[in-house]
Amino acid sequence: AGISDDVVKIGVLVDMGGVYADICGQGCVTAVEMAVEDFGGTVLGKPIEIVSADDQNKPDVGSAKVRQWIESEDVDVVTGLVASSVTGAATKVLTDAKKIALISTSASNAFTTKACSPYNVHWTYNVAALANGTVKPMVAAGKKKWFFITADYAFGHALEGIATKVIEESGGEVVGAVRAPFGTTDFSSYVLQAQASGADVVGLANAGGDFVNSLKTAAEFGLTETTDVAGLLVFTNNALALDPAIAAGMKATSGFYWDMDDQTREWSARFKARHGVIPSMGQAGQYSMTMHYLNAIKAAGTDESDAVMKKMKETKPDDFFARNATLRNDGRMVHDMLLVSIKDAASRASSDDIYNIEAVIPGDVAFNPMLPECDFK
Amino acid sequence: MSADYVLETRNLVKEFKGFTAVDDVNLKVERGTIHALIGPNGAGKTTVFNLLTKFLTPSRGTILYNGADITSMKSAAIARKGIVRSFQISAVFPHLSVMENVRIALQRKEGNSFHFWKSVKVLDKLNERAYELLDEVGLKDYANALTVDLPYGRKRALEIATTLALDPEMLLLDEPTQGMGHEDVSVVADLIKKVSANRTILMVEHNLHVVAQLADTITVLQRGAILTEGDYETVSQDPQVREAYMGVEADDEVAQAIAAANVAEKANAAKGGTE
């Protein structure tokens, strides 16, 4: 065994300039760098090297880069992995080459279900956790009729689908949905439709700019005053960009919040010092996952994928990010999730003080159980 | 005796928004003649040309070519039938060589114009004919020059050579001498005379000398309608035509023009005699 090519090379594939750049772009690269430095820069006496690339949120660009990394640059593991479409294409290439994919920020749950693979590790969250975390308690609290404004692409469909399932299982009902094409600027028409639907809750099954725009429009047209609006995927940087007057009180599920306890604050402060803004859950997960991977190499005494994977699954992740965590055989990292609500302007101590933590959702409640066909021993 | 008409229009009308540019024109062009269309500015001459070549669609009326109705044909089809037009401004392919200009026209009949898989060398067999045509208009020495570099008058000659390459039965010339100096005017006029053999020519021209020298029949248009028709002498004596078109000095012009034409004819006859 030992270290192939005498170096452990980590490829970080992220969105450098597109819509996800703030969620997991240069910030994720920084998180990996921090992990490598904290680990000591070498493993088993060999140097750890980082290469990074921009996937432009395009599956073809991403998979081509991954292919090049493993075919001609001896990259051992690929991480980052933001847009689900890119991750899907990249994991296919990686699995073919028997290389590990450490997925930080993708939302789709496919990588541990219908597209599961012995080489996939999915760390921070997924759509199931979002639906279970945010939707379930609301239905339980009597918000039974839902209307969705959904981003018209796979991620939005998946989120809407899984949330619908959760709603119906918990005794609620979906009274309508509109699918807004990617790049929609004006949501007023959809908001009017939501208003007319008579729903108790309008679920925003979208992300990033779409989420911010749709929420703003909902507030402008008075929807937020008459109806609950639930953002199903909210990143800290979206919350930062929102006017507290509009967003206050809104609930969301997150894999991480910087201001949870001393451990999170300590790491987040270091991150902010380097990167300029507080970490998103993807960036925090990125660090945690990289650490776990390096530790596994050390424990296994090799960087050979199967051995490392085995070690990663044997050892329970445990750090500021991963609480009560296990890495299941399907590659799903199950850990405590947080139900948060957005603070109003008055109760914010600083501009970074955006969430109240309402509840901790235990991992096995948040994440769906493992499928038998994905149980890679 | 019923004459042999190549081209006939019947009650041809062209209306632009609330304005009738061509008004019920019945034009008959006899085979083998040079027929001139004259008239004041805005009389509708260019519009008639545009209708005949389908650059415009007639509002009403029919166009007959060799007895067949061509009113609904498209421009290119009409050209393939043998009616070819030259333009008011010279129309050449500026960045092709002089010879290639002519060859483009010859190529059409070859039937290989869509053959994108063949080498351009298959066109070489047309070169000889192209040179012949260039020789006819006095451009042989320029065959390999780039067309943009030709002086204006020669471009005009090239255009005519290109037109001849199609072996048209009928030529439509719109102000062929416009913008030319005296020298070029007579060159082009001679050229027209020369190519009129076995062809029918319909031309628009404001230069009365050229008209007098060349035209067998003249149709005078005014306000879109035919004012009168006949040979130069008849037309130029018509008081209406003189008022509307030629003006008072026409006498002078006619005298000179006819004299010039006579001299030219005599000279030609003399040449022919000594050969």
Binding site: G17, G18, V19, Y20, A21, D22, I23, D152, V178, R179, A180, P181, G183, T184, T185, D186, S188, S189, Y190, L192, Q193, Q195, A196, G208, G209, V212, N213, K216, T217, E220, F221, G222, F235, N237, N238, A241, L242, D243 | -
Partner: protein
């Protein structure tokens, strides 16, 4: 409740109004493009970026200098107009006599640079900008709740659009403009300072985008890609209206807003595509566009 084809008429009226609001926005943006194309024969691909810049400038003015919305509404378009004047003078003018393709590519490049630079500096997730206090709240119409700010958008953009149209189509200055684009040299010969007019026109056309950007800042998030998303749709609108037609651009903008709004109601997935479908049909039936003059 009145229904048509089993649909709620009230809901439909709401959708129509919302469509009209978006349409007035489109009108403003396509007007700028149409002026620049119709009068200067420049296809300004940077118009979207300038719109984005308008929104960003408004945000920067507020956050760095404390300039409020109302002042921004006046100052930002001026600033952007000046920027455009520099751009015209130093980048566009040197290629004024080349194929239009080149000005398209040049402005495309400028758009890339601007968008890239703002993404780099401000990130991609967008910045917040508040609706000015005076326009907060809304009015309850029988069929919908109309936010005051949206009403303001429709009123202000229509006023700007129609006054611009009037100046260009009905005044002597407008005639100079139109003639100057056709044959600048001759207009100079007539004693008109064409380069100056050209520069100012370009500046004005782009300033319209800046104005639209400021209008947009409170309702859409201020983000670097806001311009590139909308630009191509606005292009289609200008083409549908007829490339040279100023009035056509305005009317078509309004119309397409409505068409898009209705599509969002009946078949939302197609709402970003419907305008292109419309464009194909229009161009095939009426080659020069709805309001364009046939060549």
């Amino acid at each position: 409740m009145a229904t048509i084809f089993g649909l709620n008429l009230f809901a439909l009226s709401g959708q129509l109004l919302v469509g009209l609001i978006n349409g007035s926005f489109y009108a403003l943006l396509s007007l700028g493009l149409a002026i620049i194309f119709g009068l200067l024969k420049i296809i300004n691909f940077a118009q979207g970026a300038m719109y984005m810049l308008g929104a960003f400038f408004a945000w920067m003015a507020l956050n760095y200098m404390g300039i409020n919305y109302w002042w921004a509404l006046i100052l930002v378009p001026i600033a952007i107009g000046l920027l455009a004047i520099l751009m015209e003078r130093f980048l566009v003018r040197p290629i004024a006599n080349e194929d239009h393709l080149y000005s398209l590519l040049l402005t495309f490049g400028i758009a890339l640079v601007l968008q890239g630079a703002f993404t780099h500096i401000y990130g991609s997730s967008g910045l917040p900008y508040q609706i000015p206090a005076e326009l907060k709240g809304g009015t309850k119409l029988p069929f919908m709740y109309l936010p005051n700010y949206r009403a303001w958008i429709i009123v202000s953009s229509l006023v700007v659009c129609f006054s611009t149209w009037w100046v260009i189509e009905k005044t002597k200055l407008g005639a100079y403009l139109r003639a100057g684009t056709e044959n600048p040299q001759l207009m100079q010969g007539f004693g008109i300072n064409v380069p100056l007019i050209t520069t100012l026109t370009f500046g004005f056309g782009v300033a319209l985008a800046g104005f639209a950007g400021v209008l947009a800042a409170p309702v859409y998030s201020v983000s670097p890609d806001m311009g590139s998303n909308i630009l191509i749709v606005v292009f289609a609108i200008v083409v549908i209206g007829g490339m040279g037609s100023i009035g056509g651009a305005i009317l078509t903008g309004l119309m397409m807003g409505v068409v898009e709004g209705l599509t969002k109601f009946f078949y939302p997935e197609a709402s970003t595509t419907v305008i292109f479908l419309f464009m194909v049909i229009v161009l095939l039936v009426k080659p020069a566009g709805l309001f364009g003059k046939e060549a």
